[in-house]
């Protein structure tokens, strides 16, 4: 589904990522882990088109999408969430999800300002669809709340709902459990599995080892900008290099 090949990223003299390659298998949940500063978020930013890598390629379903802008990747079925949740704070929860449906609509300035009949119909379909995703994540009751006023945990769910609204092929989640309490983390784990069951490939960067070992089918370990190991959760747990990276000099 997603193939990262030889990604290298330098910022000035600092090498954040060095020749990182791995695959995210279709329909699986792939976890990317590593100590702080391993380059996980940088990797996500490259894959989702926010940074331009110094070298290497990214393929989505066999198509070379390196250097594609995020908005173009969105239309190709790749979407992400953010570590510090990037909601549209002054818009309602429902409107946030409707922005996720942006690519599903085609009404432009003219049709929208004139309220042409098909635009009104499209708008109605979008609302219905948005409610579907609110139900999917269990936040329907918050539809009219301003997103900026949501508690953090609900914000995560909204961000997930908004991303799902794109009906992506692959969703990249940057530390989805960060800032969640244990009950919320459990709910999140169930939600991620539900996403996978609906046929969507998931890749996530995560610190919560329990969550990662619990739900991931495959794990990629990064350390100091390089890939350290790759394998099933069991293999990773038994990998001595990984253990020393986490326990040792870090």
């Amino acid at each position: 589904m997603l193939e990262v090949q030889g990604i290298t990223q330098r910022f000035g003299g600092v090498t954040a990522l060095e020749d990182v390659s791995f695959r995210v298998a279709e329909g699986a949940i792939t976890g990317i882990i590593g100590p702080n500063g391993a380059g996980k978020t940088t990797l996500f930013n490259i894959v989702t088109g926010i940074y331009t890598p110094t070298g290497g390629t990214v393929h989505l379903q066999g198509k070379n999408v390196t250097r594609f802008a995020p908005e173009r990747l969105a239309t190709l079925g790749m979407v992400r969430t953010f570590q510090n949740i990037e909601l549209f704070g002054k818009m309602t929860v429902l409107e946030n999800v409707m922005v996720g449906l942006h690519t599903k609509g085609k009404s432009g300035i003219l049709a929208s300002s004139l309220r042409l009949p098909w635009q009104v119909a499209e708008e109605r379909r979008m609302r219905e669809r948005a409610f579907h995703w609110l139900e999917f994540t269990g936040i329907t009751d918050l539809a009219d709340t301003e997103a900026g006023n949501l508690p953090f945990g609900k914000g995560r769910l909204l961000e997930t709902a908004r991303a799902m609204a794109l009906e992506p092929k692959v969703i990249l989640m940057d530390e989805p459990a960060a800032g969640l309490n244990s009950r919320e983390t459990l709910e999140l784990a169930r939600l991620i599995q539900k996403i996978r069951e609906s046929g969507i490939t998931v890749a996530l960067v995560e610190h919560d080892m329990e969550l990662v070992m619990d739900i991931c089918d495959a794990i990629v370990v990064l350390n100091l900008g390089r890939k350290l190991a790759e394998g099933t959760p069991r293999e990773i747990q038994e990998n001595s290099e990984v253990i020393s990276a986490y326990l040792g000099e870090g």
Binding site: E71, F82, E86, L87, F88, T103, S112, D144
Partner: protein
């Protein structure tokens, strides 16, 4: 929860009384001086709504709006007074040309953000202003351009404040209605998304660059139409109306009324147009007042009057409520 129909009603509940009020206003003072002032409130509302779409919704600042206003005014003035074109046709042609111009300069300029965007649009505005002053052969230079005809349709010539009031407010009300539709649509959500988090908007597939440029061009087109209407109403234009100060005045209107509120733009435009008429002294102090208002509103009432006043009333009511509880 509000379904589509009730949302529509919700908008109508505000718009219909507003429109009726505006349309009934001339009955209160038929041919008075105030009617003339309200003609300008209409033109300024048009300009403020146009800027608000860009500044309040998409979060992109423009300090060059007076240039689009001026291009509309001079374009229409030159095409009609000098070249004898039909005023309606001139208005449409100029608006289209200004739209294309804004679209073309929008692509490079809107790549800039924040302070730099402000400076670039300001620079554009000043260049246009200098051209108005210096291209004497075409614009008449500092002494202005006169002999611009009034608009006319059928047998009616829009040559009085009363007629102009209905002409301009007709167009302004229509623009307000269309803008309300726009901001509550897919496009409007895209704009507000850019404002709140540009990176998230892009990840959601919003073509941020194109949308910014489109709204910039739309804003320029509306401003150009306002300029044409201004020229046909005044039958005379001169550069001083289109300088940097006027761009700042427009920003002030939008900020005072409320960023991201269409009705707020009307409120801001009305206040800043009426105030100088009621307070004779204001004319001497105007820039002091603008400066103070810009700072004060941004610091203490960033939502503008449309949100600030209800919030203030709410807070006072709450306080009274609390006191009642204490009493009881």
């Amino acid at each position: 929860m509000m379904d589509k129909r009730s949302l529509l009603k919700h908008e109508a509940v505000k718009f219909i009384p507003f429109a009726l009020l505006i349309l009934a206003l001339p009955m209160a003072f038929r041919e008075g001086y105030l009617l003339n002032v309200f003609v300008f409130v209409g033109i300024h509302t048009l300009l403020a709504v146009a800027l608000n779409l860009l500044l309040g919704y998409a979060g992109q600042i423009s300090l060059g709006q007076a240039a689009f206003f001026g291009l509309g005014a001079y374009g229409s003035g030159i095409l009609t007074a000098t070249h004898g074109l039909n005023p309606w046709l001139a208005m449409v042609l100029v608006a289209a040309a200004v739209g294309v111009l804004a679209f073309l300069i929008g692509f490079p300029i809107l790549k800039l953000k924040g302070h730099y965007l402000a400076m670039a649009t300001l620079g554009f505005g000043i260049i246009v202003y200098i051209v108005f002053n210096e291209a004497v052969d075409v614009t008449g230079g500092p002494s202005g351009l006169s002999g611009i005809p009034n608009l006319a349709v059928g047998g009616i010539t829009f040559d009085s404040d009363f007629k102009n009031y209905y002409l301009i407010w007709g167009i302004t009300l229509l623009t307000i209605l269309l803008s309300l539709n726009l901001v509550n649509s897919r496009i409007g959500r895209g704009l507000r998304a850019i404002h709140d988090s540009e990176v998230a908007a892009r990840v959601m597939g919003v073509n941020v660059r194109l949308l910014k440029v489109q709204i910039f061009a739309l804003s320029a087109v509306i401003s150009s139409v306002a300029g044409s209407l201004y020229a046909y109403t005044m039958t005379f234009v001169s550069p001083t109306s289109f300088g940097f100060n006027f761009s700042v005045e427009l920003v002030t209107m939008v900020i005072i009324g409320g960023l991201g509120s269409i009705y707020g733009s009307f409120l801001g435009a009305a206040l800043l147009t009426l105030l100088p008429e009621f307070l004779r002294a204001f004319q001497d102090y105007d820039i002091v007042v603008y400066g103070f208002l810009l700072i004060f509103m941004t610091m203490y009432m960033p939502g503008g009057l449309v949100r600030g006043i209800p919030a203030l009333v709410g807070r006072i009511a709450e306080r009274i409520g609390i006191r009642k509880k204490v009493d009881a």
